[in-house]
């Protein structure tokens, strides 16, 4: 029984870190219809900014997180205007080629500016150490990651489902021409949602830095995992992504605890099974 609880706690923490990083990609892929392979690169930029702010400038953790999120958005907005705007609605292959190209450029620049070594984001004393749950101890920053994940899920759900902006975004996604004709300034809606997605990537990069350390190849190393989460959850669905993260985190963690020699066999087996049964992901919308 203790083992089950133990696995559940680890799975929850791992799943939430995955969620925070992947949800931005789900937004760009599902709502904006851009296969953004550079998503991991933006998460990495966030990690680098936070690491630079906290380690080299000695700023507080909270401030470093904010700086990372907004700094990444500032970097990403010109990229959106100059590059991404050309590929909205383009065939997927064009999008993949463009965004993978952007990824390689960012890897090269990161390697040149920050060097090839690992960078960490120093945690404040409040998040260091571990908390005793009675049956086992868990790192405090993991609890923080779980909290961040829940916060992001609720905030994003509210933004998309309950606000005027959410209505405009969904309208622009379903029929851009009609939305524009009704007075929705679609390019601004797209720019804002792109900024939100990138900001979430940066937040994920910082919060997840303890599990997925920041180095230049971060952008490619974890890309497959992020894409798997989005395709299993169903692109554009927040509950879908949340369920996918918890499910995949659970399977991965249980597999690693019980039969580590099988490696990621169970993880990918589950992915194949889910995609076979739900070709559009757990909560994907049909008929697009």
């Amino acid at each position: 029984m203790q083992t089950v609880f133990s696995i559940a706690v680890d799975a929850l923490a791992y799943g939430m870190v995955l969620f925070v990083i992947s949800i931005g990609l789900s937004v760009t892929m599902g709502l904006m219809r851009v296969v953004n392979l550079a998503h991991g690169a933006f998460a990495m930029i966030g990690g680098y900014i936070a690491s630079y702010a906290a380690r080299d400038l000695g700023l507080g953790y909270g401030f470093a997180v904010l700086l990372a999120v907004f700094g990444t958005i500032v970097i990403a907005v010109p990229i959106e205007r100059l590059l991404y705007r050309r590929i909205y609605g383009a065939p997927e292959l064009t999008q993949v080629l463009m965004t993978i190209g952007i990824t390689f450029c960012i890897i090269g620049i990161a390697n040149y500016v920050f060097g090839p070594t690992l960078k960490t984001v120093p945690l404040p004393p409040a998040l260091q150490g571990s908390v005793d749950l009675g049956f086992r101890s868990i790192a405090t920053h993991r609890i923080f990651a779980i909290g961040c994940g829940l916060g992001v899920a609720v905030a994003l759900w509210y933004l998309i489902e309950k606000t005027a902006f959410g209505v405009k975004l969904r309208a622009a996604v379903d029929n851009a021409a009609m939305a524009a004709a009704l007075g929705v300034r679609t390019e601004i809606v797209y720019a804002v949602s792109f900024a939100v997605a990138v900001g979430l990537a940066a937040l994920g990069g910082v919060v997840g830095a303890e599990l997925l350390p920041v180095e230049p190849y971060y952008a490619l190393r974890y890309m497959v995992t992020f894409l798997v989460v989005v395709s299993v959850g169903g692109a554009g669905s927040i509950p879908g992504a949340l369920v996918a993260c918890l499910l995949l985190g659970g399977i991965d963690t249980a597999g690693r605890y019980l039969v580590p020699e099988f490696g990621e066999f169970f993880f990918y087996l589950a992915v194949i099974a889910i995609v076979c049964v739900f070709p559009r992901g757990l909560a994907g919308r049909a008929g697009q």
Binding site: P116, L118, R136, I138, L212, E264
Partner: protein, 390 residues
């Protein structure tokens, strides 16, 4: 008549190579991609040797030709080696970070009449694949075996082994297991985890449940070691008094600034620490630090490359610049010298380097940086992996 002309021509060409002005050395390694740091260290070691010992051997100039294999890729490695031999006319092949890349090149050596000096690739078997292979790095058997004794001496009798599931990881597991069981210890469990593991918390929970008093771990140096060490601390294993043993790959110098506080007190066994206290090493670190640009990026492949160059210089001296692979390799069998890592020699039988293995502990320097502090020495260690293969 025709035959005499041919013979004369042949004699001329041979005479031509005898006073060759430029001797070319082909170095294959990862100079771009995720492992570029290790390739950079090769370059730094080579440049440091040239800076300290001159870029000429006798009257001959040296030219180093670098070829990039970013990730383990035996086919590309072989193709590049062929190109170096046939098109560039290199007399020596060197470098090689990954075992499969080095293995792929060994069948070419005899026909090409070229010795291969391995500056990193650390699987025992490579030297047996061709009599023209000389290695100046280490093997995991060599660095892991002394750890068994350290663990036993620390009063630990039950150890759990956790390694990455690939060649070197399995080597490390076997080496430690053999040594530890011979010393009367017990391996309670041996876990092999996939290379791509990011979250080590479940593994640590298993370590805890196994009831072991010590953990022996091997992961390739790089990003994952950080998560592993942190998970060890955060899951309360450090506080529970479980001892952490590993070969030095886990605490390589270029990862230490990131590992920082978390790695404090971890004991590792390895052949080289940048902090090694000797005049040879001081000169080396200064020269290699200058060559690499940022001294904090200096790590163990640089010393493998430095000593590899020493071996190649000796080979060129012995053959007078002529291309004779067998003579060159024979000349360095039994060669001994003082390397930045300490006294070393080339074992005449295996052509692998015999060296001191040091027990180190991660410590904090006065300026707040972290380093591997050498606390004990196991002198003149050969490669037990070759004996285990027989």
């Amino acid at each position: 008549m025709k035959r005499t002309i041919l013979a004369a021509l042949a004699a001329l060409t041979i005479a031509g190579t005898a006073h060759a002005d430029t001797i070319k050395i082909g170095v294959i390694g990862p100079f771009s991609g995720p492992f570029a740091l290790q390739g950079k260290n090769f370059k730094a070691g080579i440049d440091a040797y040239k800076a300290l010992n001159g870029s000429k051997v006798g009257d001959d100039d040296l030219e180093i030709i670098y070829r990039d294999v970013p990730q383990p890729d035996p086919a590309q490695s072989k193709a590049l080696a062929q190109e170096l031999v046939v098109k560039e006319g290199v007399q020596y092949l060197a470098g090689f970070y990954f075992t499969p890349d080095a293995m792929a090149v060994t069948p070419l050596l005899e026909q090409a009449n070229v010795p291969l000096v391995i500056m990193n690739a650390a699987t025992s078997a490579i030297v047996t694949k061709s009599p023209l292979v000389v290695r100046t790095s280490f093997t995991l058997w060599q660095t892991s075996t002394p750890m068994a004794k350290v663990a036993k001496d620390a009063g630990v009798s039950k150890v759990i082994s956790v390694v990455s599931d690939y060649g070197p990881g399995v080597d490390a597991e076997n080496a430690f297991k053999k040594g530890f069981e011979a010393a009367g210890g017990q391996i309670v469990e041996a876990i092999r985890m996939p290379l791509a593991t990011n979250d080590f918390s479940p593994i640590m929970q298993r370590v805890k449940d196994s009831g072991a008093e010590g953990l022996f771990a091997f992961l390739p140096s790089g990003p994952t070691t950080l998560g592993f060490v942190k998970a060890f601390n955060e899951n309360g294993l450090k506080d529970a008094g479980i001892k952490f043993f590993a070969p030095g790959d886990l605490t390589q110098e270029s990862d230490l600034p990131a590992l920082g506080e978390a790695a404090l007190g971890i004991q590792t066994t390895f052949h080289y620490a940048v902090s090694h206290d000797s005049p040879e090493n001081k000169a080396f670190v200064e020269a290699a630090g200058k060559a690499i640009g940022n001294p904090a990026e200096l790590s163990f492949p640089s010393v493998g490359a430095y000593d590899g160059m020493h071996v190649i210089y000796k080979m060129i001296e012995a053959t007078g610049g002529e291309q004779d692979a067998e003579k060159a390799v024979d000349a360095v069998k039994g060669l001994s010298w003082t390397s930045p890592r300490g006294p070393v020699s080339i074992d005449p039988e295996s052509r692998h380097i015999t060296q001191n293995i040091y027990l180190r502990e991660v410590a904090k320097a006065e300026d707040g940086s972290y380093y591997n502090k050498e606390i004990a020495t196991f002198e003149k260690q050969g490669d037990p992996g070759l004996a285990a293969m027989k």
